[in-house]
Symmetry: C2
Subunit: 194 residues, 2 copies
Amino acid sequence: MLDAGALDTLFRHARTHDGWLDRPVSDEQLHQIYELMKMGPTSANSCPARIVFVRSRQAKERLRPALSEGNLEKTMAAPVTAIIGFDLKFYDRLPDLFPHNPEARSWFADDPKSAELAAFRNGTLQGAYFILAARAVGLDCGPMSGFDNAKVDAEFFQETYVKSNFLCNLGYGDSNRLFPRGPRLGFEEVCVVL
Amino acid sequence: MLDAGALDTLFRHARTHDGWLDRPVSDEQLHQIYELMKMGPTSANSCPARIVFVRSRQAKERLRPALSEGNLEKTMAAPVTAIIGFDLKFYDRLPDLFPHNPEARSWFADDPKSAELAAFRNGTLQGAYFILAARAVGLDCGPMSGFDNAKVDAEFFQETYVKSNFLCNLGYGDSNRLFPRGPRLGFEEVCVVL
């Protein structure tokens, strides 16, 4: 069992941040996040997530037109904004990723609806691994779905089969700008033990 | 930053297990998992995940007909199988969960397609929080998508708006029955820094 400090860092004290301290995020930290998140489980080790780290001023300006009003200021101010996407043709990597079953590629390549579902489900799992990996290496996150996916796809994923899923601001959050934490549902409202 | 042992437990040494030791999972552990995973972020604090912990022999037999052949034996043998689902009418709880914006319910209630997308995306994020929370409290996981969702929904979620997402076996994995770990994609294959 992880110690209390680690559980606080990952879950209990971690917060979604809107305000960011003026403190950069390094290339090394981006690599650290990826090297952890990549180990999380996906169906048939499919690993469909693809990530664009938007850090430069120029790249942020390319992102700006896709942002919803409520997410604009904080995203432009964040040290890094990760675009978490998923590759609809992830199955082309299965011969490398899942070598013990050479048929795995055809499960998805021959069934586009199944491929899209798997890409979205497993790419989203990897998005959550990303969030917790970022917290694990000492960063704060600000994930959000409020943006124009089609604009992001046209600007960052043109001529690919990658689709945007959600955005996640990264940096060191300004705790003075936090709202009170929202309530959560109780165990009995969410869970049944049979 | 978490220490190396915690990173190993969550990501680097953790494995998806197919073989289970004869060692039970307690109610207290199920509560511990939920109390951690519930803190993970979701859009507008929507918390759409719903969970059925299938533990008794009787409940396992209800699950059996929905399992794919490759997942049958290991799932029947696992101390607990969690059905991770999502509630398509999650938005009815938003007045409680997101009280500072009384309009949030209508974003989804008036747009079923948007509601379904949000339920699946955020319910899947919570599924990943579940996996890492289970590892954090010392358990091993065996998540899987290979089952008949419609059969599970008819058996466990009838007369509700909950849909099954994926299954996750829980217990203490038998390391002697692990296959070698699958390879992962490199940073440069997945990530771009702009």
